[in-house]
């Protein structure tokens, strides 16, 4: 297990480094002089030159990259343009809101997707199976921002059951959770459909396995067979897929945060792009990348914990 974790961690470090290189190249290739952008049109040439030296832009490119790389690993992503605050601080300030949103999306998709998948697999071809099948494909096909807008219109504007915008009072956890319900549903609903389909397919496969026949031949109760003997195996591919799913939820989160006017990294990036605040854009992208890789790492380790066959190979 330790050996495996170390290997996976090494791989993660390499991936993050590559992403840093890409980000650096991207910023470098963006036309325009960052110093000029930062200082605005009324700055003099001398002021720009001074800032260029301060930002290290007069150095050869590989030294610039090396500095960027070393600083980034130390958590220093430079300062953002507008307020001159460290990018890392600004992004980390917004991160909990996005994390909460994604966690909410995960909870929706797991709490609904797995039972639905399991339920439809028990009687494949039945009426319940068909209806849920159609609904699943439906929610997979509809983009999350459309779901976000409709959820907002129906539950917040027309029915007034839930608040429409914001993240809730900062001290009031209940209020925050209530504000999270709709945006997280928008982020997670597509994944409810995905998981329902995936768990169904993988349940159907497991239920055909010969160990299930053995369990039946021992007269074990169907509930025990379904939930303990079959489902624990059938959800293993789901865990890995959820790691990938979180990446997708990160991008859905951008829309959900905009539609529901919530703070968060997505909203931050959106605003930063509009104001051409490039250090902030790249900083936020880097933070979400690290987050995504970390979550996938965790997903793989969780599979290792759940599946004794994988565990002993680690």
């Amino acid at each position: 297990m330790l050996n495996y974790s170390v290997k996976r961690l090494g791989l993660a470090v390499i991936i993050v480094s590559v992403v840093m290189l890409l980000l650096f190249t991207m910023i470098y290739l963006i036309p325009g002089d960052p110093a000029a952008v930062a200082l605005g049109p009324r700055a003099t040439d001398a002021m720009r030159e001074a800032l260029r030296v301060k930002m290290g832009l007069d150095q050869p490119i590989w030294i610039q990259f090396w500095n960027f790389f070393i600083n980034a690993w130390q958590g220093d992503l430079g300062n953002e343009v507008l307020s001159d605050r460290p990018v890392t601080d600004v992004v980390l300030e917004q991160l909990p809101f996005t994390l909460a949103l994604i966690a909410g999306g995960m909870i929706w998709s797991i709490a609904l997707g797995i039972p639905l998948g399991c339920w439809t697999a028990i009687q494949p071809g039945g009426i319940v199976d068909r209806i849920i099948g159609i609904l699943s494909v439906g929610v997979i096909a509809v983009p999350s921002f459309v779901i976000a807008i409709y959820a907002l219109l129906i539950f917040a504007v027309s029915l007034r059951w839930l608040p429409a915008i914001g993240a809730g009072d900062s001290g009031d956890i209940i209020d925050q959770i209530i504000h999270l319900i709709l945006p997280s549903l928008a982020v997670g609903l597509g994944w409810v459909g995905y998981l329902a389909r995936l768990v169904r397919a993988s349940m159907l496969e497991v239920l055909e396995a010969s160990h299930i026949r053995t369990a039946r031949a021992f007269g074990l109760p169907e509930r025990l067979i379904t939930y303990r003997y079959a489902l624990t195996i059938a959800i293993l591919p789901t865990v890995t897929l959820l790691g990938v799913g979180i990446g997708q939820m990160l991008s859905s989160a951008v829309f959900a945060e905009i539609v529901f006017a919530r703070p968060g990294v997505g909203k931050l990036v959106y605003d930063a792009i509009l104001t051409r605040n490039y250090p902030l854009v790249s900083g936020a992208v880097l933070v979400t990348t690290v987050l995504f890789i970390a979550i996938n790492l965790i997903a793989d380790l969780v599979v290792g914990v759940l599946d004794p066959r994988v565990r002993s190979r680690l």
Binding site: H211, T214, A217
Partner: protein
């Protein structure tokens, strides 16, 4: 006394191109304390027979007519929960594939606990039972074996664990569906001996399925020969091996590699193929491949019995 009596069992499967008659008028008995072997080529309906006994036929299969009397009660009339009460307690099963027969993500000990779910014993007593069963199937290091998972054992050990699980509730009938086919020759012998020992100790009857004639001869008291869903011949092991009555049994014995007196490069085989079970004519099921076929074979063959040995063949009447 017979533990199990199968009487005129007919099982059909609904398939896309018509009804498939997987078992036709199958009858035989499993007496108390005896080991009955079932031989037959692949596809002759051995697993279908077992599944009908266990009440685990696929959804598209049904018992059309006939009785399965187990300890006097007709299993075809029981509902699914009554059948479940028998399975694992009175009737236990060991399946062919030891690699896949045990759940890969649940430890051996927990699986053995689950099998005892109906018992009122405490958990530690159940674990003691499980460890004791593992001792009887000669699994070394039993306490730690209980905490391990199936993939940590070799194929032969897995099959012994499966046998331990099947025997744990001391069933009256053990069904073994080709339990040794996936094992190599030495393990096969060891497993057979183990089954024999346990059968003696527990005093159960065994329905043993195999297409390995040597194993059948070694282990079984009685033999049932099946062909394309029918019982063509049955009798004691001695009768079947020394005085086969049905031409199919004769051929089967001739084709057994272990029975070859000299080394040959070419094993004899039975020419032709198993008939399509969807197109069933009233005549003898084996006629198309039979070396002593005559015109009369197109009509239903009689069941002829001599000293407890019986076969379905026209030749026997002449």
């Amino acid at each position: 006394m017979n533990i199990l009596e199968i009487q005129n069992l007919n099982v059909t499967f609904d398939t896309e191109d018509g009804q498939l008659r997987a078992l036709r008028d199958v009858s035989f008995n499993v007496p108390e304390h005896r080991i009955v072997g079932i031989v037959g080529e692949s596809g002759c309906g051995k697993s279908t027979l077992i599944n009908s006994i266990l009440g685990l036929l696929a959804d598209n299969g049904q018992v059309e007519k006939g009785k399965i009397l187990f300890e006097g009660q007709n299993l075809t009339e029981l509902n699914s929960s009554q059948l479940r009460e028998l399975r694992g307690v009175r009737i236990s099963t060991v399946f062919q594939d030891p690699m896949g027969a045990l759940n890969p993500v649940i430890s051996v000990g927990t699986q053995m606990l689950h099998i005892q779910y109906r018992s009122s014993l405490s958990k530690s007593e159940k674990l003691d039972n499980a460890a004791e069963m593992l001792r009887r199937v000669r699994i070394p290091d039993r306490e730690s074996a209980l905490t391990r998972y199936p993939h940590e054992f070799s194929g032969g050990m897995k099959q012994r664990i499966a046998i331990a699980m099947a025997m744990m509730m001391e069933p009256a009938l053990l069904i073994a569906d080709e339990p040794t086919t996936a094992l190599d020759a030495t393990l096969e012998v060891a497993t057979i001996e183990l089954l024999q020992d346990l059968q003696q100790q527990i005093g159960c009857s065994v329905l043993f399925i195999s297409h390995h004639l040597g194993v059948i001869a070694e282990l079984c008291d009685d033999v049932v020969v099946m062909y394309a869903g029918e019982v063509v011949e049955r009798g004691t092991t001695r009768q079947i091996f020394y005085r086969p009555m049905h031409p199919y049994t004769e051929r089967l014995l001739q084709c057994d590699p272990a029975g070859q007196s000299e080394r040959t490069r070419h094993l004899p085989t039975i020419p032709g193929e198993i008939p399509d079970l969807r197109l069933r004519t009233p005549g003898c099921i084996f006629a198309a491949r039979c070396h002593c076929r005559e015109d009369i074979c197109d009509s239903t063959p009689p069941e002829v019995e001599i000293e407890g040995q019986s076969a379905r063949c026209h030749r026997l009447v002449a």
